[in-house]
């Protein structure tokens, strides 16, 4: 009896041991699983961080553009006017907003016209971004009185105004900004070692460049003939 009991005890113990081992193993596997999954998540997050900031937005926009292209192709095949279809499907106020933003000036650079026009263009660019200090303005108006504040060309206001340090700083900063923008308008060309040498001198090179600028459009044919050796 006791032997049977003890053997059953032993087998129970063995079974319990087995069960515990199995449980331990399952815990181990679960821990390993979780570790693996955590690691995968970390890698994913790291990759997501390293993506450029507007990746999501950019991808969405690209997808949208692709869809637009496909729809446009379909409309072309069916012979419909895609723009008209689109207009019929947009809401009225949104359509108005789009129209308004298009009508607002885009101000493309039309190249050099003459110095006065370019100065005017610069002036308009600078003044549209100017934000006047209205509080200071109204204070100054109170202090100065209307006679002096709204002068005609004859009222004597010379010498009545000396600027504060901060406003002179603003002026100097603005002048320097204008200078840096001016530098952008002429870029340094790269040195081309394979270009033809038709000069003996740096001054000669510049002069040849000037000649090319003015006469190339007329002498292209002749130059090609000379290069080839015979006329066409």
């Amino acid at each position: 009896m006791s032997e049977a009991a003890s053997s059953s005890c032993v087998s129970d113990a063995a079974k319990r041991l087995e069960e515990q081992k199995a449980r331990l193993r399952s815990l181990h596997t679960r821990r390993n699983e979780s570790r693996k999954q955590n690691h995968q998540e970390v890698v994913e997050e790291d990759r997501r961080d390293k993506l450029p900031k507007n990746y999501e937005a950019k991808r969405q926009r690209q997808e949208w553009e692709l869809e637009e292209l496909e729809k446009r192709k379909e409309a072309e095949e069916k012979g419909q006017d895609y723009d008209r279809l689109k207009n019929m499907q947009t809401q009225a106020d949104i359509a108005e907003k789009i129209d308004g933003s298009k009508r607002r000036k885009k101000n493309p650079d039309t190249g050099f016209a003459d110095y006065e026009a370019m100065t005017m263009r610069q002036y308009q660019r600078l003044t549209t971004s100017l934000k006047p200090d209205m509080r200071n303005y109204s204070e100054m108006r109170q202090v100065m009185g209307d006679e002096q504040f709204y002068p005609s060309s004859n009222t004597l206001i010379q010498g009545n105004h000396y600027p504060t340090d901060s406003s002179i700083d603003r002026l100097v900063g603005d002048i320097e900004k204008q200078a840096t923008k001016r530098d952008q308008y002429h870029r340094r060309r790269m040195f081309d070692p394979e270009a033809n040498i038709d000069y003996i001198n740096e001054r000669n090179r510049k002069f040849n460049q000037k000649l090319d600028r003015f006469y190339n459009q007329y002498t292209e044919d002749v130059k090609q003939d000379l290069e080839r050796g015979t006329a066409v």
Partner: protein, 353 residues
Amino acid sequence: MRLPKKAAKVKNKAPAQLQITAEQLLREAKERELEIAPPPPKQKITDPEELAEYQRKRRKEFEDNIRKNRSQIANWVKYAKWEESVSEMQRARSVFERALDVDHRSITLWLQYAEMEMRNRQVNHARNVWDRAVTILPRATQFWLKYSYMEEMIENVPGARQVFERWMEWEPPEQAWQTYINFEVRYKEIDRARNVWQRFLHVHGHDPKNWLRYARFEERNGAPSNARAVYERGLDYFGEENMDERLLIAFAQFEERQKEHERARVVYRYALDNLPKERTVDVFKFYTIHEKKYGERAGIETVIVSKRRHQYEQQIAENSYNYDAWFDYLRLLQNESQERDEIEDCFERAIAN
């Protein structure tokens, strides 16, 4: 000994075996680099005497360049810029003044001079330079623009205003007036802007576009009654002989925007009655659009009928033997069931030809 003749006769006239090309000659000449002098050895300046020596040398170079070519402004400007870079303001000023003695009409000189003063925080010096520039060359818009911009940057708005007032005394072109107006609008001085607009129209009122712009301005700043007054004054200004269709069309469209459709119709009819035939095309177009949007059927029909009548009249006036035009005209009149008298008149005229 026999001296060689000046132009020895060529015996062998065949081309040589090995020819040289012009390109090769140029390349060899360039690579010889005859004129490129090696750079002078770099010197470190250690004490004030050496600095003075270096500056004296640079100044001599600049003065030599000026002596070689006095009228080249770049020589003067580089000299003055260098003096500025070594913080010798008085010398830089004197260089600029000498340059102005040579050529006081050069805009770049004045601009560089004023910019130098501004960059070095010399506001009153800069004002002096700008005043002189503006007095000597009043038609150069750059000076006025940059002067007023400087005063605005320094927050001397009355000063900027006075600069603009002085400028407007010269009655500059439209864009200049527009900058003054934008300046006033920037500081929310709409009344003063109105004043400027009116003075502008005194000067540049011959172009109807300016009247339209003023009216637009009034409309946008929330004073439609003023805008109406502007349109009416414009019509008075031009009078019957010089009437411009753009003004009338814009007036009618303004009334449309103000939802005054009867007035718009009146304006359109006035335009049709008083303008010569060639200029009524646009008027018709806009009138039909207006009627289609806001008018009754009868209104639309009358407009269209009168438009086509005008067309036919024109064709007939050109060529009185244009039978097709006559027939179409008569058929139109009959279809629209106009007055019997009119149809009869028309028939008479056709037969008279």
